[in-house]
């Protein structure tokens, strides 16, 4: 049996980046993933919706927490019966999971925004919570390299709350509607930017096509699909990690793999579940706590551009998407009933959802025709404060299909999120009105926690071993040869989609591991 230096649990965005970084430097890696290797050509077939047994509605009740599921993609998500989780009925949590080589990076929306020092140094700004142990300048070189690999497109805007990156320049013109919104938004301190997006390569911007193939090409990576990590094993004499117990997903056979280092990259909550089930790295008591994400409200404001109704939009008025980065609490002392803020992304040129149109039958169809191509729809993405009271723990009464105890969630949004949502949606609706648009609907009620699939925290970093599970290098304070490199390490998440930051952290942690190993420190 070959000896491996590093065992990586998970093959998604963070695990892929860890493997990419380590194997290039000659480190022998073994990667376990709980799911199969899929073939995007053979595992998907083109079908008409009417040939599906439930006419596209999907089997009722099958994926009740996955709002993103439909009958076409139902098989790509983790089956909630196979790997359940629990929460109190009045505290819903939508945990959306993918188990396959590449993980959620096969399906992400590719939004690639950097965090700023408004997030890294959030406590300095408004006194709440903790600062990250690092700042933007420290992560900047890693962001730059990740953006190179993932080919992030964007336009340099020079915004302090949304640092520019190493972009493939996006020189597409803004639509007339977006320009009108931008003009109207100025008085509310709003700025309008291009979406920053990982172009990737061809069909995907995933570990499956961008980081794992080069890692395999070094000859230093061995990938094991269908290997469900159950417990991290500790050498009682040294207190160090010496391997991982895992279950063969198909046969349910128990197996053990040795390793000198373990990198946990199983996605935020699976990583925390693995550490909790292993009963390690928790002298701080922070493990599982400070669970946060971004609250989402899709269709928070839907408006119509009158000139574009009845298919009469002049060329250049509609089309394309845009982004409004955080615009609230950018200066200290703003008088508001909440701290932090939201970002919006919006698309122009769509058609309204029939549910918001007050009509039925022929009248409804005529209304849809009238508004077709004339609407603007914005998704509100709000910062959720990381609170100790929001946490996950092991549910001692429930195990999954592999006999592994599952997570129980305790997570609620508070007045800060509610007040923020209301102010933000009201403000954007006013901006749309000022731009001369007709407001069709407005919604300021956040969707349940977890909906954004941006779960963060629960294994946070801190220079102080009493306050965080990990140090500034994503390395466990308690177990020096254990690293956790996914979104669980976040101290606070801002409004930005987290993946690009997760990958920058995974790259940085992996290089630190190599330097420590070479220096003989571990």
């Amino acid at each position: 049996m070959q000896d491996y230096d590093v065992l990586i649990v998970g093959s998604g965005a963070s695990g892929g980046m860890a493997a990419h970084t380590l194997t290039k430097q000659g480190v022998k890696c073994l990667m376990l993933d709980a799911g199969p290797q899929v073939d995007f050509q053979k595992d998907r077939v083109l079908k008409n919706v009417y040939d599906l047994p439930y006419r596209g509605f999907g089997k009722p009740g099958r994926l009740s927490h996955v709002f993103q599921a439909n009958e076409f993609n139902a098989n790509q998500w983790v089956d909630e019966q196979e790997v359940p989780y629990t929460h109190a009925p009045n505290e819903p949590y939508n945990w959306v999971r993918v188990r396959m080589i590449g993980g959620k990076s096969n399906f992400w929306a590719r939004m690639s925004f950097r965090l700023s020092d408004y997030e890294f140094k959030a406590k300095d700004f408004d006194g709440f919570g903790e600062n990250w142990p690092i700042d933007h300048a420290e992560l900047d070189p890693f962001y730059t390299r990740v953006e190179e690999i993932f080919r992030v497109s964007g336009r340099k805007e020079g915004l302090k709350q949304l640092p520019d990156g190493n972009f493939v320049p996006d020189e597409s013109p803004d639509s007339g509607a977006a320009k009108r919104m931008a003009e109207a938004g100025k008085s509310r301190n709003m700025t309008f930017t291009k979406i920053r997006r990982s172009l990737g390569n061809g069909q995907l911007a995933s570990s499956l096509n961008l980081t794992l193939p080069p890692a395999m090409a070094t000859g230093n990576l061995t990938i094991v699909p269908n290997a469900v990590a159950r417990e991290i094993s500790i050498d009682k004499n040294t207190g160090l990690v010496n391997g991982v117990y895992y279950v063969d997903r198909k046969s349910k056979r128990d197996l053990f793999a040795k390793a000198k280092y373990v990198i946990v990259a199983a996605s935020c909550l699976e990583s925390t579940r693995l550490l909790l089930n292993s009963k390690i790295a928790n002298s701080s008591g922070a493990l599982g706590h400070y669970l946060h994400d971004q609250f989402y409200i899709t269709q928070s404001v839907v408006a119509a551009v009158p000139e574009a109704k009845n298919g009469k939009a002049p060329r250049g008025l509609m089309g394309g998407a845009g982004y409004i980065p955080r615009f609230q609490n950018l200066t200290q002392g703003e008088k508001r009933n909440f701290i932090r803020g939201v970002a919006f992304d919006f698309s122009t040129g769509g058609s309204p959802d029939p549910r918001i149109l007050p009509a039925w039958g022929t009248e409804l169809e005529e209304m849809i025709n009238t508004y077709r191509g004339s609407t603007i729809s914005a998704t509100c993405m709000g910062e959720v404060l990381p609170r100790y009271e929001n946490y996950c723990e092991i549910d001692k009464t429930t195990v999954d299909a592999y006999g592994i105890p599952v997570l129980r969630f305790h997570c609620k949004y508070t007045d800060n999120e509610a007040n923020m949502a209301k102010d933000s949606v009201d403000t954007l609706a006013e901006v749309c009105k000022d731009a001369g648009f007709e407001i069709l609907s407005k919604n300021d009620k956040p969707f349940p926690p977890g909906y954004s699939i941006h779960e963060l925290g629960t294994c946070r970093m801190s220079d102080d071993p009493k306050k965080g599970v990990l140090n500034r290098w994503n390395q466990a304070h308690d177990v020096k040869n254990l690293f956790v490199v996914d979104g669980s390490s976040f101290v606070t998440g801002g409004t930005q989609n987290p993946t690009i930051t997760i990958m920058a952290l995974a790259m940085r942690a992996s290089e630190h591991l190599v330097s420590q190993k070479r220096a003989g420190k571990l």
């Binding site: 998907r44 079908k47 919706v49 596209g56 139902a74 069909q203 009509a359």
Partner: protein, 210 residues
């Protein structure tokens, strides 16, 4: 071969999403990879020689039809006869046949489909449908404007408290979507553009993963 030709001709529209999704949270794979993969030969094709004397006949893929194409729905199984009659009337009102040959919800077998869907649905959804249909008993063209008036109210995120209003809001979406997603709609002139234009969805279906 008729069905296969149609499949090729079908517009490759965005996959149907039963609930409203954010553009940003929607997995991009469906949005950007809606291209049929057909026409490419398998990567490595191994030719197995038949034993001598056995004709080398290729194994063909037979063109078949779906179960529901070969028969009619047995039922109603979930709704009472009265509830089903109300549902049928409601379908006719919410989604009537269009002037351009577009089928209405009744032509698209939507009442029968919803009876089947609800028979497998979670208890709260079943209760919503039953209570709503009981509340709409006696619905006809002369009282429709009055009984469906809740649908004229401004939409709010929180569902209405009144059980009939709550049901109507859901039924409006379900009836319309079940019609647009029907085989009858796809084969009508309505799906091809012009007038009541609404492309029937086609998408890449994930097979059960190994």
């Amino acid at each position: 071969m008729k069905r296969r030709r149609f499949l090729q001709a079908a517009p490759v529209a965005a996959a149907f999403v039963p609930q409203q999704q954010p553009a940003s949270a929607q997995p991009p794979a469906q949005q950007q990879q809606q291209r049929p993969q057909g026409g490419q030969p398998p990567q490595s094709q191994q030719v197995i020689q038949p034993p001598p004397g056995v004709a080398n006949a290729p194994i063909v893929h037979l063109d078949t039809v779906m179960p529901e194409e070969a028969g009619t729905a047995v039922g109603p199984k979930f709704f009472t006869a009265t509830q089903f009659a109300t549902l049928k009337k409601l379908c006719a009102i919410l989604m009537p046949a269009g002037a351009n040959g577009a089928p209405g919800a009744v032509d698209a077998q939507v009442p029968e489909f919803l009876d089947f869907l609800l028979s497998q649905s979670p208890a709260d959804r079943q209760q919503m449908y039953r209570a709503g249909l009981d509340g709409l008993k006696g619905l006809d063209d002369s009282n429709a404007a009055k009984m469906l008036a809740p649908l004229k109210q401004t939409w709010t995120y929180d569902p209405p408290k009144d059980p009939v209003a709550k049901f109507l809001r859901q039924a409006k979406l379900d009836v319309r979507q079940a019609t647009l997603n029907s085989r009858e709609w796809a084969k009508s002139p309505a799906s091809g553009g012009g007038g009541r234009r609404a492309a029937t969805g086609a998408g890449l279906y994930w097979n059960t993963l190994d």
